[in-house]
């Protein structure tokens, strides 16, 4: 089925079938015209000979006697003439020879004069008409011809019956006017002849014609096929096969070259050759370009890892340090970025924090970043203030800065024990400072020149005092200049607002919050610049906390927790016993009374400062101030003494200070005691 479909749709089959149909149509038209001309010529010839025959028959009858025969009837002369005509009819092999006199008043009828019949010719069974037999004119055709003949304008008329009619074989009737000696048309001599000769003459003609046409068609088709195959189909198939092969294999094949003298095909073949060559070259180029791209991609990925590893990237960065917390994040716009942050302990009390933004992006910025970062961290470890360090680093970078790149840097060294930061700013954005209990605000100072601009640049130091609970937030302009799809900048105000929405959070949470806020603002817009942030928090002094169910059986757990804390701070045995007694009284009090019949938590917070320990008992039970009750009367005898109130009295006596607060639906009892 597919093969047949392929054959029908192939170019050669189509061309050949079109030519075949065209030739067939032409041949049919030509042969039809030929047949018509042949028939007409034959008819003409036949009627001419018939005319001559009729003219001859006319000489056998004396036209002057026609009227006499009709008026007077048969006589010897009539019989003689009829005998001639009968013989003539028989000898000339015609069906009918008859003479009629047409009624000239309307040509609607005629009278028979002579009538000779030869039924053997056409196998008919005519019976001869009597003399004077009257008959109506057969049809209008005959009537018109009668009129023409009687007018003397024509020499003869012919009536053809080529198709079989009423069982009669095809024949013709020739009518010739019979003229009297005075030249007057008196009657018509009619001869009916079969024209089967026409048929028999036409058949061989037709057969010859058909054979010639078939031969012509076969020959033409053969010649066309051969020509087409050689000149057109074969080269076209070659081109097509080669194109198919190339599409499938995409490899170098044999050249088509000069495959045809037809210019269009030759051009096509040349174009296919050229196209294959170009395509292969292009493919080779593409392969090597792709390989190169993959290699660059892999190298970039390694470069990105190296860059990432050159700065602290594991958090918490100082798991053993409880006195501060630092978190940083860097999201490069490209695989490698030009922003960087860094922080490291110069000694156990000094933390250096750097944030920087290199001009430009991508590989050049990343390389420049590496150099700057190494210079800054090496120089910082050698000692000196940030201003001195940046001045030195600037000189170093300016010496070899052919690429005219520059970098903005903020460098600060935090003294962890005091919270004092000495910082220097080389053209970088001002940091934001959070004051514990307050809010984030930009800490604005005068900036130095960007690093890399001129070797003469000098950088000044300034100081920021951080207190426990304060935070320092550093960022690059990737944050403030993040742009949304409407080309609106994120901006400083939005950043400060966002910071204040998460001011109580840890450094990690602050960065996550800002990052999420920037992303939300930017929406679908692509990240244009690197996004780098650092958040440092100076932790509040150590605070120990325990939360447990306020139940008597948890008493020892509370004591253990507090004793451990006291021992750590070199508490005297005596003070420890006194504190133990106090915490038992208070905890048992909360356990038994704070929540009535229900259950609840007790939170215990411990603090130590300057030899004084602070203990806080916090519960969410019903408000109760144990200090409001009067002290028990110690002078009463055993019988009169009440057991209640002794516990809190013991606490008051054993501790240096006891205070009660009811805050946020919580009872807060604070005890302090000097322990050494």
């Amino acid at each position: 089925m597919n093969k047949l479909k392929k054959l029908f749709s192939s170019l050669s089959f189509r061309i050949i079938s079109y030519i075949f149909i065209l030739l067939l149509v032409c041949s049919l038209i030509v042969s039809t015209i030929g047949l018509i001309s042949f028939t007409n010529a034959f008819k003409r010839e036949y009627s001419t000979t018939s005319y001559h025959m009729a003219s001859t028959a006319c000489t056998l009858v004396n036209a002057d006697n026609i009227d006499k025969y009709l008026n007077e009837g048969i006589d010897d002369e009539y019989l003689k003439a009829k005998g001639y005509l009968d013989t003539y009819c028989l000898k000339m092999n015609v069906s009918l020879v008859y003479v009629i006199k047409v009624d000239q008043s309307d040509y609607g009828s005629f009278l028979s004069v002579f009538n000779s019949v030869n039924n053997s010719v056409e196998n008919t069974n005519y019976s001869p008409w009597e003399l004077g037999y009257k008959r109506n004119t057969t049809n209008e055709e005959y009537r018109e011809k009668y009129i023409a003949l009687y007018s003397g304008e024509v020499e003869y008329e012919t009536v053809y019956r080529t198709k079989k009619l009423n069982g009669l074989t095809p024949h013709l009737t020739i009518l010739v006017p019979m003229k009297t000696s005075t030249g007057e048309v008196t009657a018509l001599m009619c001869i009916q002849r079969p024209i089967s000769e026409l048929k028999s003459a036409r058949r061989p003609y037709l057969i010859n014609l058909i054979i010639s046409i078939i031969l012509l068609l076969a020959l033409t088709t053969f010649i066309t096929i051969t020509y087409l195959k050689r000149q057109f189909v074969r080269p076209m198939r070659k081109v097509s096969d080669e194109a198919t092969r190339f599409a499938k294999e995409s490899s170098q094949g044999e050249k088509l070259g000069e495959i045809s003298r037809i210019q269009e095909i030759s051009n096509l073949a040349k174009s296919v050759d050229k196209m294959e060559e170009d395509m292969l070259t292009y493919m080779n180029n593409l392969t090597s370009i792709t390989k190169e791209k993959e290699r660059i991609g892999a190298e970039l990925s390694i470069a990105s890892t190296i860059q990432e590893n050159s700065i602290p990237h594991q958090f918490p960065a100082f798991p053993n340090r409880k006195d501060f917390d630092i978190y940083a994040s860097m999201t490069p716009a490209k695989v490698v970025g030009g922003d960087f942050y860094n922080f490291f302990l110069v000694d156990s009390d000094h933390l250096a924090v750097v944030i920087a933004d290199v001009s430009g992006k991508g590989i050049p910025a990343a390389l420049f970043m590496m150099v700057t970062n190494i210079l800054i961290s090496d120089r910082t470890r050698m000692g000196g203030t940030p201003g001195e360090i940046l001045t030195f680093v600037n000189q170093g970078i300016c010496e070899h800065n052919e690429a005219d790149m520059f970098v903005t840097v903020w460098l600060g060294i935090v003294q962890l024990s005091t919270g004092k930061i000495v910082a220097s700013n080389a053209g970088h954005d001002d940091p934001a400072i959070y004051r514990d209990g307050g809010s984030f605000e930009l800490f604005k100072t005068k900036h130095g020149l960007v690093i890399g601009a001129t070797p003469k640049a000098k950088y000044a130091d300034y100081e920021i005092d951080l207190h426990p609970g304060d935070k320092l937030f550093l960022y690059t302009d990737g944050v403030t200049e993040a742009t949304n799809t409407d080309q609106v900048l994120y901006g400083m105000d939005r950043m400060v607002d966002a910071l204040n929405n998460c001011k109580a959070s840890s450094p990690k949470e602050v960065l996550d919050f800002i990052h999420a806020d920037v992303n939300k603002f930017v929406g679908e817009a692509p990240q244009f610049d690197d996004l780098t942030m650092v958040c440092f928090e100076l932790n509040k002094k150590e605070e120990n906390k325990l939360v447990l169910k306020a139940k008597n059986e948890n008493l020892y757990q509370v004591m253990e927790f507090i004793d451990e804390f006291l021992e750590k701070h070199d508490c005297s045995m005596k003070a420890q016993t006194q504190i133990d007694l106090s915490i038992e009284e208070i905890f048992v009090n909360i356990a038994n009374y704070a929540y009535g019949d229900g259950e609840g938590d007790c939170e215990i917070k411990l603090g130590f400062n300057d030899g004084i320990v602070t203990l806080q008992f916090i519960d969410s039970g019903m408000p109760f101030d144990p200090l409001a009750k009067a002290d028990p009367d110690n002078t009463l005898s055993a019988e009169d003494r009440q057991i209640g109130g002794l516990g809190i009295f013991l606490v008051k006596k054993n501790m240096d200070e006891v205070s009660y607060q009811y805050l946020d639906n919580k009872n807060i009892l604070t005890l302090t005691k000097k322990i050494n």
């Binding site: 008597n552 020892y556 016993t577 038992e584 009284e585 048992v588 002078t635 516990g647 006596k653 054993n654």
Partner: protein, 98 residues
């Protein structure tokens, strides 16, 4: 806390070892309820007792109230820290401490 006792006729001597606090006090209270029958002389030997809180004081007060009508109650060998608690709360005024 460890409670040990010796009974000589109507005299009961109770030795307390360890801490007498909220957790351990109910144990001593139960012990007293079960063993004070027919006792006219109750002696607490606190040589090994290093700590007491108001829960302990409550037991001593209760015992004292009981023994006042029956005979006598004596507390011996009180350690310094415990003594201080007795003093602060004025228990030294009615307890017989030797």
């Amino acid at each position: 806390m460890n409670i040990s006792h010796t009974r000589e006729g109507e005299k009961l001597t109770i030795c307390l070892d360890g801490r007498l606090d909220t957790v351990t006090a109910p144990e001593l209270e139960t012990f007293l309820l079960e063993n004070l029958e027919g006792v006219t002389s109750l002696v607490f030997d606190l040589k090994g007792m290093e700590y007491t809180s108001s829960a302990g004081l409550r037991i001593f007060l209760k015992a004292q109230k009981l023994m006042t009508s029956r005979g006598e109650m004596v507390i011996e060998n009180v350690q310094e820290d415990v003594m201080e608690v007795f003093e602060i709360t004025g228990f030294t005024d009615f307890l017989t401490i030797r």
